[in-house]
Subunit: 327 residues, 2 copies
């Protein structure tokens, strides 16, 4: 494993996963932006695992749904940046009481989530960059690592090497997008509605951008549309003046994204297209490119968001409700 | 089982499910409004099944994701109203070739989906009403029926009786909402954005209303917000003039909905609240009320949609792209 600050903690969590008698399922449990991070991990388990089921689920829904399978054969991975999200802390307690192996990801040692879970991985945070110790990458290391210790997964060691080059890769791509970012910010500063679209491993990033950047931090109406769902309802709102941000993925799901983009290009003049094919990930071994794509889209989109916030005069840090009152 | 036109077909599908050596998972595969119908079925499997995993997934995403577990131990339930949805037909072929038991739901005998699947259930269609032979109910009969033949599920026979009273129940509730429906239609006829909100078994109905009614049939911007996700991003777009349609559920998930409603009530003056607690479902045995709620919300919301379409002068049948061109 890459020798990074959180590698030892990931290693300990993987030891615990390895020592379990049976693992039937992994629940990926969180809220909002942290929930969005879980979606590519269910995607990875769906695609790669012979014997383990993956379920990404909002923490309040998880506790309320009370999955009947949850028990000693379950691993529950939870994430909360502050470690204080009450729904996620409660989910950790419920899961641990049921005998599941609970693994928390948080930025804050000693936080309630850290205390509630059996194992904790402390990730580093800097939304404009990406490294093997960022939350999204640490989650992948856990997920592929669990698949490796439980049933063998050659993508796990390959992932470690792929993550090594990420910080420089992201910087370079952000720099090459500078003109496009500036144009996007000016062109969208007065938009009341902006949609995002993606599929496969990138849907979580599209969801996060819709709910955390547009709705939460910019008060712009939004929804993440799945490229495969677009033609079955949502495409009827397409018009010349309706803006979409497209994330074009790699691997099998690219065809879905391409079909949606081909249609939207005919009827909307307001498309922003970010294409993972430009990221130089095709040469990664083991078909890892499609999994790495969201780790690049995420900090790249943050650069778009920063510039939009400047153009609107509405900093990403402004909130009217969040953290300001009880709710 | 209730003696209804599709009961024999459901019975044959259940026989096939029973005769399988092992069933490890059920994939619920469809697109758009039919995909929305699948969501409460994954919910039911999550809540009720000891040994079977449930996955609701868009049909194009299913084929592209190519779940590694898919095989002889899988049941794949697919739904397409016309039976012609290419992505769903393709998913049926892929699943059948892998050895899965494929069960189709469609309105059209002889359609490509009917031909592609091993078993087919033909449902009846009338969006303003609900009966045991409507698609949403037929799906539940299949899902609970499979749980019953595979591992025993006392909710399966109870469901059959609960469905019997549905047509009259729905009629009565629609009638009692007449004034509210008229007021809603007038109040929302010029809205550019309307959000829907729900959780648990009702999230699928909220999703369907957002993408099929608002976006597709009324060209109104929309998104279905999960009540448990609301506080982690989306609630920041709440304001006095932002309209939400709330579906208040039963069972455990009601607390999530109530928390979201309590907050939204303080900051928006544009709430439409439909409450399953008024449906008289609490007396149903086996805690079935929470599962029946979406079967009432769906035709009730259709009555709201019909009136909105009248007030806007924009019939629900109008499309600009769907069925009018190749895409």
């Amino acid at each position: 494993m890459l020798d990074t600050p959180c590698a030892t903690q990931i290693g300990e969590a993987l030891e615990a996963a390895k020592s379990r008698k049976t693992v039937g399922e992994i629940y990926f449990v969180a809220c909002g932006g942290s929930f969005a991070l879980m979606l590519p991990n269910q995607y990875a388990v769906d695609r790669e695992s012979k014997s383990i089921a993956g379920f990404a689920i909002n923490a309040a829904e998880f506790t309320s749904r009370a999955p009947r399978r949850l028990g000693e054969n379950s691993i529950v991975i939870l994430c909360s940046h502050s470690g204080t999200t009450p729904e996620t802390v409660e989910a950790a307690r419920v899961a641990r009481a049921k005998g599941a192996l609970t693994i928390a990801l948080t930025n804050v040692p000693g936080s309630p989530l850290d205390e509630a879970a059996e194992k904790t991985v402390f990730y580093s945070h800097a939304p404009l960059s990406m490294s093997a110790d960022h939350s999204a990458a640490a989650l992948y290391r856990l997920t592929f690592g669990i698949l490796d210790v439980r049933e063998g997964c050659s993508k796990a060691p390959a992932l470690e090497s792929a993550l090594e080059g990420l910080p420089k890769l992201v910087e370079g791509i952000q720099a090459s997008h500078a003109d496009k970012i500036a144009a996007y910010a000016e062109a969208h500063k007065r938009e009341p509605v902006i949609y995002t679209m993606a599929s496969g491993a990138n849907y979580g990033v599209a969801y996060s951008y819709a709910i955390c950047i547009y709705q939460e931090m910019q008060w712009i109406h939004s929804a993440a549309i799945h490229s495969g769902e677009y033609f079955h309802g949502p495409f009827e709102i397409t018009d010349f003046d309706v803006p979409f941000v497209f994330l074009m993925g790699l691997g099998n799901s690219r065809a879905m994204d391409a079909r949606a983009l081909a249609f939207a290009s005919k009827y909307s003049k307001r498309l922003t297209v970010l294409d993972a094919a430009e990221f130089g990930l095709a040469e990664l071994p083991e078909g890892l490119g499609e999994y790495i794509a969201p780790l690049v889209f995420s900090p790249l989109l943050r650069a778009y968001a920063d510039k939009l916030a400047d153009a609107k005069g509405h900093p990403l840090s402004v909130r009217r409700y969040m953290w300001k009152m009880d709710y």
